[in-house]
Subunit: 333 residues, 2 copies
């Protein structure tokens, strides 16, 4: 292993000068600095992170805690976070808690002291996070807790956009198939939807109870959606939408003719299934990047929530029951 001593010997200077030349170049005379740089390059010197941490109190490593890495949602966040961490010259410990809150708390407390900060990306134990941080840097993703910095997608705005889209198509009664009970992003979606519905008094929103954020959740919700008389439905995520479409088909109903369906997340299944799903796209990689930036930023300034855009594909259309004239001018008030 090449150390500062080797570089110092090669450059004919002391180890202090080597350290300074590489860490704070302006503190060292130009010719000396250059000699050090050349020597370091030729020897292939890589500062030892562990030693550096031991002395300086920084690890150069960050942590990312996700409930399920094979979920494309978290995989995308992880990808963004990883890329940004690399930009900052930091490593990223990725931990998958397998949806287990106990494991999450334990992992958090063992990870926190070994890193410069942790991105906690999970709808589970927020209180455990708060307990474990003890002054450590933690950033929450798509979640909120008093006094803890967080980044989030603007789910409320996304819901409003989706509702406006459906209203413009002529829908007047829209169901929402919600996600897990404790989910912060589900609460945000519901709140945004309620606010938007209030704004447009010609649209009625029917929120439906908690469902698993998987294909089965959508299948379970389908019959309730049909029964409530809605002509369109918003879902917690794309998988729920897929399950919904599946069950509707099995009942002989067509999407979008009999019911318009809007997914959420724009995971890549949305464009693969048939019909391709109209869905809400949050830039999850940007979310991961923003989380890392916030973690490494000196100020605790809360960043603006990330935009959520509507991606229109083939699962939404004017309702079959709407009068012709209204269908011809869908954007009219």
């Amino acid at each position: 292993m090449v150390t500062v001593h080797d570089v110092a010997r090669a450059a004919g200077v002391s180890i202090s000068t080597v350290s300074r030349a590489l860490a704070s170049p302006q503190k060292v005379a130009a010719p000396t600095r250059e000699r050090v740089e050349v020597a370091a390059r030729e020897l292939g010197y890589r500062p030892n992170r562990a030693a550096s941490f031991l002395r300086a109190g920084r690890t150069g490593a960050l942590g990312l805690v996700v409930p399920d890495l094979s979920n494309p949602y978290f995989a995308a966040v992880a990808k963004g976070a990883q890329a940004r961490a690399r930009d900052h010259g930091a490593g990223l410990f990725v931990v998958d808690t397998e949806e287990n809150p106990d494991l999450e708390a334990e992992v958090l407390s063992s990870l926190a002291p070994q890193t410069d900060g942790v991105v906690l990306c999970s709808p589970r134990a927020v209180e455990a996070a708060l307990a474990a941080l003890e002054g450590r840097r933690v950033v929450l993703v798509n979640q909120a807790a008093a006094g803890v910095p967080a980044v989030a997608a603007d789910h409320a705005a996304g819901m409003r956009r989706a509702l406006e889209h459906l209203r413009a198509l002529g829908h007047r009664r829209v169901a929402y198939v919600g996600g897990p009970a404790g989910s912060w992003s589900d609460r945000r979606r519901r709140a945004g939807l309620a606010a938007a519905a209030e704004r447009y008094d010609d649209v009625e929103v029917v929120p439906l109870g908690a469902f698993r954020p998987q294909v089965e959740g959508g299948q379970a919700a389908a019959d309730l959606v049909v029964a409530c008389g809605a002509t369109a439905v918003l879902t917690f995520n794309d998988l729920v939408a897929v399950g919904l479409v599946d069950r509707l088909r099995a009942r002989g109903l067509d999407v979008p003719r009999d019911l318009s369906v809007v997914g959420s997340d724009d995971s890549y299944v949305a464009s693969l299934v048939s019909p391709p799903l109209t869905t809400l796209r949050a830039d999850l990689r940007a979310l991961g990047r923003a989380a890392v930036d916030l973690l490494l930023a000196d100020d605790g300034g809360a960043p603006a929530p990330l935009d959520v855009d509507l991606v229109v594909r083939s699962s939404t259309a004017p309702p079959a029951t709407v009068p012709e004239d209204s269908r011809d001018r869908p954007t009219a008030p």
Copy 2:
């Protein structure tokens, strides 16, 4: 921060004893060990990894290099590797090289000295890996290079199983839509397919050139498949199969009536699309786990390749052109 000194003081022993009691318990008398353990627990002592590394030369961290974390294939491997690393009490640095071989080489050389070993999971620059390791522990996943330990799924056996399945259904001319040119797993698939075809002289295999391992690759291959007169097709992965089905449909062909399609990897899109894909399932998490085990194993013993199983869904059926009697007894020789 709680250090060995704090624990030592609390337990009334020296720091050496604390270190030994926690690291090699058999070297310390039972009552003393217990006092140390109690003190450590009460104080919430966590050994400082950096300091430990500095002295002992072990980091307690492993590295995982993947080309694309948002690809469910690599996400599954990462999940398995992460879980196993945690079991071993190690952290896992995950790095996404964004399919960039240059970045891969750079990342590898900066990651290797900071970890106890690296799992390289990527069809790209093997030679860079070899250059960067310099005696460092590296394990390849689904790839082979002389003298470098590796874990792999038994793609050849999987292909044979798929071919036997199609042959049993009555297919006699089967196309293979291959993946990227440099891909090791593509070569394994072709080799396994050729060997299996040789074994059954009533089945003909038509290998088709390199295609992108994405939906577009399948779309691009569809017309070649139809033109070559095959009644069934094997694909490099599920996404290619999805693209293939998409293009076939656009041409008015039905799957599986007009053409049987077999995917590969059993990513979760396989069961979501319509028709649900018959596909080959490699247990990718097990692959990730095996890679970590091999990395941490003292001996360099090469593990057996992991099984690849056939998952039969609705995208395969007897060929429409086959005589009735043969279709009624599909498993007959």
